[in-house]
C-alpha cells in the first residue's frame, strides 16, 4: 500500500501585476508513489519542483490539476496532518519562544495527549540533544540547534510519515551524519520517510528508492539495487536526467 501518491499533478503559479498575468509551471503531470515503510528520496536541481511537491502533500499549496493522496486520504485534509511529521528546509520557528515552549506548542497542535505531554517533550528534547538548552529562547540558538528543534517538532507525535525538505543543506559533517542516523532509525521503526535533496551522496546512502525531478516532471525513478556497489551510477543517471531550468549556464574552464 502506498503512503503517498501523486497522480498527474500539475501546479501552475499565477501572478498578476497591473493587470498582466504571468504563469509559471511548478509541476507538470507529476506521478510519484511512495510505499509504506520505505525511504524515498526526491532528487533534483534548484527549481525542479521538490519543495512544491512537498507543499502540495502538506496542503500548503493546492494542485492546479491531478490528485494527491496521503496515507489513503485525499489532500488537503487537516486530519491526515496528525499522522505526518514535516521539517522544512529552514527552521521556521517562532524565535520568541524557548525550545521547550516551542515543542510544547507543537505537541499540543499535534494532539499529543495532555497527560504525559511534558514527559514526551522532555524525552524528545533529550533525543535531539537540546535538553541543556531547552529553556533558552530560540533566538539564541545556532543554525544546527534550530534544525534539531525543527526535527523534534516533526517527531513529537510519533508520525507514520516523515517528510524532510533538504534536511542536510547547510549542516556541518557531524550534523549530517546524525541526520542520516536518524533517517535510518526511523526506517527501522517502520516509518515512511520522504526527503528531498540535491546531495547525491546522502541520498544513495539512505534511500530505498529515488525519484529524479527535472523541470517539474519525474524524469526517472531508481531502486537501491541499481546504484549499490556501482560508484557514480546515481550521479551519472542524475546528470543524464536533469536539465537546468534556472537560466544559469555551465562554468566554462
Amino acid at each position: 500500500m502506498n503512503a503517498l501518491s501523486l497522480r498527474g499533478v500539475r501546479k501552475v503559479y499565477r501572478r498578476s501585476h497591473l493587470g498582466r498575468v504571468t504563469e509559471t509551471v511548478g509541476l507538470d503531470a507529476l506521478d510519484v508513489e511512495v510505499r509504506r515503510g520505505e525511504v524515498f528520496g526526491l532528487l533534483g536541481l534548484n527549481g525542479s519542483g521538490k519543495t512544491t511537491t512537498i507543499k502540495l502533500v502538506m496542503g500548503l499549496h493546492l494542485p492546479t490539476d491531478g490528485a494527491v493522496e496521503v496515507l489513503g486520504r485525499p489532500v488537503p485534509d487537516v486530519e491526515v496532518l496528525a499522522r505526518i511529521g514535516y521539517t522544512p528546509e529552514s527552521a521556521y520557528l517562532n524565535r520568541a519562544l524557548t525550545g521547550r515552549e516551542n515543542l510544547r506548542l507543537f505537541a499540543a497542535l499535534s494532539r499529543v495527549p495532555a497527560r504525559g505531554r511534558e514527559t514526551r517533550v522532555a524525552e524528545m528534547l533529550e533525543r535531539v540533544g537540546l535538553s541543556r538548552a531547552m529553556d533558552k529562547r530560540l533566538s539564541e540558538y545556532s543554525k544546527g540547534m534550530l534544525q534539531r528543534a525543527s526535527l523534534a517538532q516533526a517527531l513529537i507525535h510519533d508520525p507514520e510519515l516523515v517528510i524532510l525538505d533538504e534536511p542536510v543543506t547547510g549542516l556541518d559533517p557531524l550534523a549530517i551524519k546524525e541526520v542520516r542516523t536518524l533517517i535510518l532509525w526511523l526506517k527501522e521503526r517502520g516509518k515512511t520517510v520522504l526527503f528531498s535533496s540535491h546531495d547525491i551522496s546522502e541520498v544513495e546512502r539512505v534511500c530505498d528508492r529515488i525519484g529524479i525531478l527535472s523541470a517539474g516532471r519525474l524524469a526517472k525513478t531508481m531502486t537501491q539495487d541499481e546504484w549499490r556497489g556501482r560508484p557514480d551510477a546515481l550521479e551519472d543517471a542524475f546528470a543524464a536526467s536533469v536539465a537546468r531550468t534556472d537560466g544559469v549556464g555551465e562554468i566554462k574552464l
Partner: protein, 253 residues
Amino acid sequence: MGAILAVFDYTLREHVRRRAWLSTALFGLVLIAGGLVTSVLAADQRARMMLDLGLAAIEAIGLVTAVFLTVGLVLSEIESRAVFLILTHPVPRWQYLFGRWLGTLAAVALGMAGMALLHLALLAALGWSAGGYGLAWSCSLGSVAMMSALSLLLSLALTSEAAAMAFAGFFWLLGHFTAEMSFVADRSGSPFLRGLILVFARAAPDFARLDYRDALHGGAAGGAWAAWAAVYALAYCAACLALAVQLFEQKEF
C-alpha cells in the same frame, strides 16, 4: 479547542516578550503629565479631569497598541514562514486565526487592566468614588476588540502592514461619524452615492453604540444598553473574523 488554546498561549507569550506591556508605562507618563497640568485645580475638578483623561488615554493607547500588534500578527508569520510549520499540523486555519487574534486581544486587555489599576489608585488618592468605571473600561475594550478584528481583516485583504494601518485609521475615523453618514446618505439624490456611503457607514465600527459617556450621563447605561453594546461588538468582531478566515483559507504558502 486545544489548537485555539495552544495558539492563544504562544501569541500571548510572544506579545509579552516583545514588550507589549510598555503601553502601561506610557500610560503612567500620561497620568504624571495630567497630574502636573491639573495640580492647579480644586480637588473635585481635578478628580473629574483625571478620570476623563485617564479613560480616554486607556482607550487611545489600547487602540493604537491593538492596531499595531494586529496588522503584523499574521503577515509577520507569513514573512518569517513560521505559519508554514503551524499549518502543517492538524490545525484548521480558522482556529489558527482565532487563536492569534484572541491572544493579541488578551495581551492588549492585560495592558489596559494594568493601566486601569494605576488609574484607579490615582483616583482613590484624589478621593474619587463614583461608579461606572467597570462599564467604561469594558466599552473601551469593546472598541479595541472591534478595531483589532478589523485590522486583522484589512491586513489579510491588503497584505501590507502599512496599508492596513492606514485603512484602519480611516475606518476608525469613519466609525465616529456613522450616524452623520447615514443622515447624508438619506438625503443623497444619487442611489449610487447613497449605497456607497451606506456601505462605508456599515463597514466602519459604530463607536456611538459603545459610548459609555453619553449612556452614563443620559442615564441610559442600564443592563439592556450594556447587553446590546456587547452584542454589537461581538457581532462586528465575528463578521470581521469570518471574512478574514475566508481570505486566509484561500492563501497558499
